[in-house]
């Protein structure tokens, strides 16, 4: 034990929070939520996006628990939480703008794609979204080698 011990908490200006018991409960909660995520992924909630949203909600609950207790934001000075919250705000902006633009984008092709870069024949190149990148290219353009011949089976 150091001689600083008696006034150490005063030194750092820090009152102790948390502790093994609290952290143990937090860990148990996180492990339980992990099991819930896995179980939820096996249940069909109607649509693929419903499952993704449920998985992300559970992940966000877990992330919040980690940030509040393990990262001490619950007990911290507000400034650290504000930095984190503003980061999430800018991340949300980052998400929002590309999503608004999604429908004006055409599809990406494999980097070893040998077909034409632009296929107006598909009739939906302007609308994009998978339209000019058919799952089973039929018929392949003359002289062009489909990226994955196995896909023709």
């Amino acid at each position: 034990m150091s001689t600083h011990h008696t006034d150490s908490h005063h030194d750092t200006g820090h009152h102790l929070h948390g502790g093994p018991k609290v952290y143990g409960v937090v860990l148990a909660a996180l492990l339980t939520l992990t099991i819930i995520t896995v179980v939820a992924s096996k249940i069909d909630f109607g649509s693929a996006s419903a499952n993704v949203i449920i998985a992300l909600i559970i992940a966000t609950i877990k992330a919040t628990i980690v940030a509040l207790w393990f990262m001490h934001l619950k007990y911290d000075k507000p400034v650290n939480g504000m930095i984190f919250a503003s980061t999430l705000f800018f991340l949300a902006l980052f998400f929002a703008y590309p999503y608004i633009d999604t429908n004006s984008r055409t599809d990406v092709k494999p980097s070893n794609w040998k077909g034409p870069a632009y296929m107006p024949d598909s009739g939906s190149a302007v609308r994009g979204i998978g339209a000019n990148f058919p799952v089973a290219p039929a018929p392949p353009p003359p002289g062009a080698k489909p990226a994955e011949p196995a896909a023709k089976h």
Binding site: V38, F70, P110, A151
Partner: protein, 226 residues
């Protein structure tokens, strides 16, 4: 370190006794600790945005190729992912216990918890190694390297591009964490940390929890799409 010289300087000026870890531009230990912490949170903000870019890309591509992503994710073993999630969560617990040990001046528990955290981190990387080598042998690789010959959909290579970029970048962070934790262990064994000075332990803890937090999102997005 120049901290001793600084302390001596302070004492020469009649400021009395200072903690040797207190740098001269801070008034007291609490202020120094809080300032370091703000710096760490700013760094974590850049980390969130770094991964954020990849998450945005993942979201867009998943929206464009939902079927390909769904079929590609069957190549990932969710049990491996769940195991790694549990390992990382436990490592987060041992890390926060290491911080607690330092706060309560328990040197033995500090060293034990740092060793446990490093152990969990290494376990994570070993599991990751087995997953990666399995993908490599099957040709389930990103972009142009994708050479899987079994039945699959055209855009599955996109899924694996994101899988390797995101889990790879995350793995680099875990590896960097292991290096830093080993240094902390080395210093902790020298008795460098105590209840009045544990800033490096606390800041590494924040970093480590963020790495855990990112994995919390990676796990359902890659292993559990249904």
């Amino acid at each position: 370190m120049s901290s001793h010289a600084i302390t001596a300087d302070h004492e020469a000026h009649g400021h009395g006794h200072h903690d040797p870890n207190l740098q001269h531009h801070f008034a007291e230990m609490g202020q120094q600790f809080e300032c370091s912490k703000i710096g760490m949170w700013l760094f974590l903000a850049t980390e969130v945005l770094l991964f954020g870019g990849l998450f945005v890309g993942y979201g867009l591509m998943q929206g464009q190729h939902p079927e390909a992503f769904k079929s590609a994710h069957h190549h990932l073993d969710w049990r491996m992912g769940a195991l790694n999630t549990i390992v990382l969560l436990i490592s987060s617990f041992t890390m926060v216990m290491a911080v607690w040990s330092a706060q309560t001046n328990n040197q033995k528990a500090l060293i034990r918890n740092l060793i446990l955290t490093i152990g969990c981190a290494c376990t994570f990387m070993v599991v990751k190694y087995f997953e990666y080598s399995h993908k490599y042998h099957e040709g389930l690789l990103p972009g142009a390297f994708y050479s899987y010959t079994g039945p699959h959909q055209n855009a599955e290579f996109v899924f694996f591009s994101f899988y390797f970029m995101m889990t790879g970048l995350h793995g680099i962070h875990v590896t960097a964490g292991i290096v830093v934790l080993c240094y902390l262990l080395y210093r902790a064994k020298q008795g460098a940390y105590n209840s009045s000075y544990y800033t490096p332990i606390d800041l590494t803890g924040l970093y480590w929890h963020l790495v855990d937090l990112i994995w919390i999102y990676l796990f359902p997005l890659f292993y559990l799409i249904s």
